[in-house]
Subunit: 361 residues, 2 copies
């Protein structure tokens, strides 16, 4: 059964990839007609988007759609694939704000255009050209996300039903991102604040809202739809939190070959995660000294990363986060035990939960 | 008759302002419920948006709607008001990319948040906090633009008809913005390239596309709608070009008290406008020397601005641009002499043309 679910998810992922490829090919032609200077823009978004990613948001949305009784439908695949373009916007702007050099082992968009500026010996500041391009490419990805949804071919009624959730999801994402940059600027960390940021910036956006979009696309009856939306929140909110905790975890303990980011990158950035807030809460004076010395140090080397990892482990924060992930995942899976969620879709959602919180990426 | 048109436009502008105020008040409450840290975000967009602006895009869209036979309708006012939020996104990101300190005589968004960081003595780099906030506030304004349109209360059929143009307009805007930053990085200027940038970044986006949106909202019959769209292009494309040329002109010769920007700001920025490309094309060796010395110099003082203005005038570029604006405006107004455009709406569009290309702002 597990193998069957994995195959079904791989099939959805393939169809999402197919639709993204086709949409981007059309946009590349369109931009090229405006001006050949725009070809690098289309190319950059193409390779950024088509080279990787787990497609979690389209998968949750489509499985939510199936779980809510929707029938297999290629236009719904195109509609949910558009969420990957929203995610591209978030990542492109996030990498720029974080000053990240890489994404999935390749240069981030601002670095990519900085490289174009240098290679083509253009005038002015290469860094400024790179960051301007990243701002605009993120904006364009956000605009394309709407366009791909509008052109997906789903029924006008389904489109109209899903727009309110689409909008709410986008506002929550931007609100969560702002809370995050504000948190980075505060003097102290807080577990409660970090949990809220994780919920808005990542949990709701990655899991709960895509499931709600799936329900909106599948169900026209208001009462029935609200029932599924409530069930999906029971499953999606705790799972979203577990997903973000796992992400924090991988940012510290993850294998660079798997994450596509240098080892301990979140520690070098001084990222205010729930994991770090818990560590700070539990740290002895000596451990606080290690944190003060290494956490957020731009020149942090592997030795420093290892010292910080040891502090995170020794305070018990690492174990606590692992247990929390397990508990939240259990709560999420428990919410699927309802007659409203038919067996095949339940297995897809179980498998997706496993993908969202598993130890490797 | 002119006075009557001016009153009608002032009335539309007031209703647009009312709807923006109401929408933003609702969003402020919503953001405040997520977290009090988000109140400055809502406040900043509020004052950025409600303190000024000619509301050209909503005015063109609503007058296009009336000209295409639409009846007065408050939900259409809300739908076209949403274009101001798209414009807010463009301006916030534009100011950040240009490094502009002010907008309409007040601090630009990135400077505003830089100021908050300093005043509240937050951690890390104030400039970085400011630019991150500006990226996210621009994104949020773009998302709100869609949300305000979706919630406007226009009929589902009208909304669906207008979405394709809304999307196309947004893609064109981002494409034009990219062409602009790319142009700044090239070694030489070109009148043809600058004209194309002006068309995408400004002309189509400010005038032609809003008119098309108006036609989409007014007319359900495909053939009739296409007829109006063609007429609106005949009027909107030349007028959009004239509008951008006037903008270039004001960036060099405008009164700071009216533009809200320091005198000769575009010269200090080294902005690659059509006006400057024409000047370069006509400059003698001596004049080229003056341009090389002052154009794009960050420390350009009023004396240097005056020397550059003299070159722009003496090459004949200033007169040529004035004549071009006049000719393009005449072509635009001529397109209104058709039976499809009824008298009251024609007068509104004539008055709007005057506002778009007049010498003061």
């Amino acid at each position: 059964m597990k193998l069957e679910s994995q195959r079904a998810l791989a099939d959805i992922r393939m169809r999402v990839q197919r639709d993204l490829t086709q949409f981007l090919a059309e946009q590349t032609t369109y931009l090229g007609e405006i001006g050949s200077e725009l070809i690098p823009v289309a190319d950059a978004i193409n390779s950024f988007l088509l080279d990787g990613g787990k497609r979690l948001r389209p998968l949750f949305a489509y499985c939510g759609y199936l779980a809510a009784g929707g029938a297999e439908d290629e236009s719904v695949i195109a509609a949910v694939a558009s969420l990957e373009l929203l995610q591209a916007c978030a990542l492109i702007h996030d990498d720029l704000m974080d000053g990240s050099d890489t994404r999935r082992g390749r240069p981030s968009i601002h670095r990519w255009f900085e490289g174009i500026h240098i290679n083509e010996d253009l005038s002015g500041s290469a860094a400024h050209y790179g960051s301007s391009a990243a701002i605009l490419l993120g904006d364009l990805a956000l605009v394309w996300s709407n366009q791909m949804l509008h052109q997906s071919g789903i029924s006008p009624a389904a489109l109209l039903r899903s727009l309110a959730t689409q909008d709410e999801m986008r506002v929550e994402l931007m609100a969560g991102q702002f809370l995050d940059i504000h948190e980075q600027a505060l003097a102290t960390q807080s577990v409660a604040r970090s949990l809220k940021i994780a919920r808005y910036k990542s949990g709701k956006y990655t899991i709960e809202r895509p499931l709600h979009i799936g329900a909106s696309l599948a169900i026209s009856d208001e009462t029935r739809r609200q029932n599924y939306i409530a069930i999906f929140s029971e499953y999606g909110l705790p799972l979203g939190e577990a997903f973000q905790l796992r992400d924090d975890f991988l940012g510290v303990f993850g294998d660079p070959a798997m994450t596509g980011k240098p080892a301990g990158d979140d520690l070098r950035e001084g990222k205010r995660t729930v994991l770090m807030a818990m560590t700070q809460d539990r740290a002895t004076e000596l451990q606080e000294g290690v944190i003060a010395k290494y956490f957020g140090a731009a020149d942090l080397n592997l030795e420093g990363v290892e010292e910080l990892r040891q502090v995170i482990t020794e305070t018990g924060a690492k174990d606590h986060v692992e247990q929390l992930i397990e508990k939240l995942t259990y709560t999420a899976l428990d919410a699927l035990n309802r007659e409203e969620i038919a067996a095949p879709a339940r297995e897809l959602l179980e498998e997706l939960a496993d993908i969202a919180v598993r130890r490797s990426v």
